[in-house]
Symmetry: C2
Subunit: 220 residues, 2 copies
């Protein structure tokens, strides 16, 4: 499987954090059987790994479970990344809900695999993060795109005119009516009128309400 001479020379350092003894041993063995990779430490909890990371040289890759006793894997990611930003975190878990996937990737994970991945896939994923990729199980990649498409929601159309949108944008920056008027070389009264119309269209009756709505519904 592995015939990359670079890998064989470098002997990449990998840590494993996994509370299930059996799975930990399996993965550990798998990595150490792979030329060019070495699972130098295997932990049951993030806490143990963190304390060692502060004294020892950090690994290139951490294989990280999410459902752990004590600190969760998600929380762990941030800690690891703070200590060693260059270490790649590869999530290896049973959880595939949007929430966990989203949080893990936001926290800085470099990849996300489900535990049903084959040994080949797991080793391949480690190689992929090492070469700058972002390995994901098929289902996870799909979820990621799902999250994306929900990210930019139906751009609700309240029928704001161009001028009104422009004024809404300025309002969001925190300007008062008078300041907006100055900025656009308009009379205070004109801005006042526009605001009134904006409020009617957005069904609000305060600046705060308009701003909140603007953010929540991507009107900015």
């Amino acid at each position: 499987m592995i015939k990359n001479s670079e890998l064989e020379k470098e002997n990449f350092n990998i840590w494993l954090i996994e509370d299930n003894l059996h799975f930990r041993r399996t993965i550990n063995g798998l990595i150490n059987q792979t030329p060019g990779m070495k699972c130098s430490n295997a932990f049951e909890t993030c806490e143990e790994a963190i304390s060692l990371m502060e004294t020892e040289f950090p690994p290139q890759v951490i294989l990280l479970d999410i459902g752990l006793p004590g600190m969760t894997g998600i929380e762990g990611i941030e800690k690891f990344k703070k200590i060693s930003p260059s270490t790649h975190i590869l999530i290896l878990t049973i959880y595939d809900d949007n929430e966990k996937v989203f949080d893990a990737l936001c926290a800085g994970a470099s990849g996300y695999l489900l535990k049903d991945s084959s040994p080949d896939k797991i080793i391949g994923a480690i190689e992929e993060v090492l070469s700058g990729g972002a390995p994901m199980s098929m289902q996870i990649a799909h979820k990621v795109l799902e999250i994306f498409s929900n990210l930019k929601p139906k751009k609700n159309d309240y029928g704001l005119t161009d001028r009104e949108s422009e004024i809404l944008k300025l309002m969001v920056t925190g300007l008062t009516k008078q300041q907006i008027a100055d900025q656009l070389f308009l009379s205070f009264h004109t801005v006042n009128t526009h605001l009134k119309n904006i409020y009617v269209k957005l069904h609000v009756n305060t600046k705060s309400g308009a701003i909140t709505k603007a953010f929540k519904e991507n009107l900015i």
Copy 2:
């Protein structure tokens, strides 16, 4: 390469939108050589494809370029998805900037390949979308995670107390000071004081400013 009996039976319908004649012919040939796949239509522009889509039966997959004459691929995605939500859009382009990737995936693309992908990869990607996956070139997957980690920015800590955060949350819902006071069974003056302190901590001096900051920096 392809030995999936399901694919051979079904003969999946694929459309191609690509303005480069040479590349269009190449991909067209590639698909038609693949058992179980048929490139039934190849277009130069989104406009042509859209008009045909309104009369003919839509394909299972559209291979879509982004840099097209007339309507861009990104704009096209939304149109296609509106006409036929179940059609998978697979982006095949030279553009790999965050902006385009982000927009395409938000618009509802099911995958994103770079044009330097090998024929095998392209066919593999089509199979992957058909089986519910989300194929991405390695670089693209990496960019996607990059976008994610920038999504949840440094949760700036302004040292708000629990009470202050609570009041900030209520403020965002559009309540007045008096309404917030009622909600929390506090005096108007107490809320007023808390707001003053919030303003100092957030370096703002209006409700609007506080709300904007709350949204922009995820303080909610």
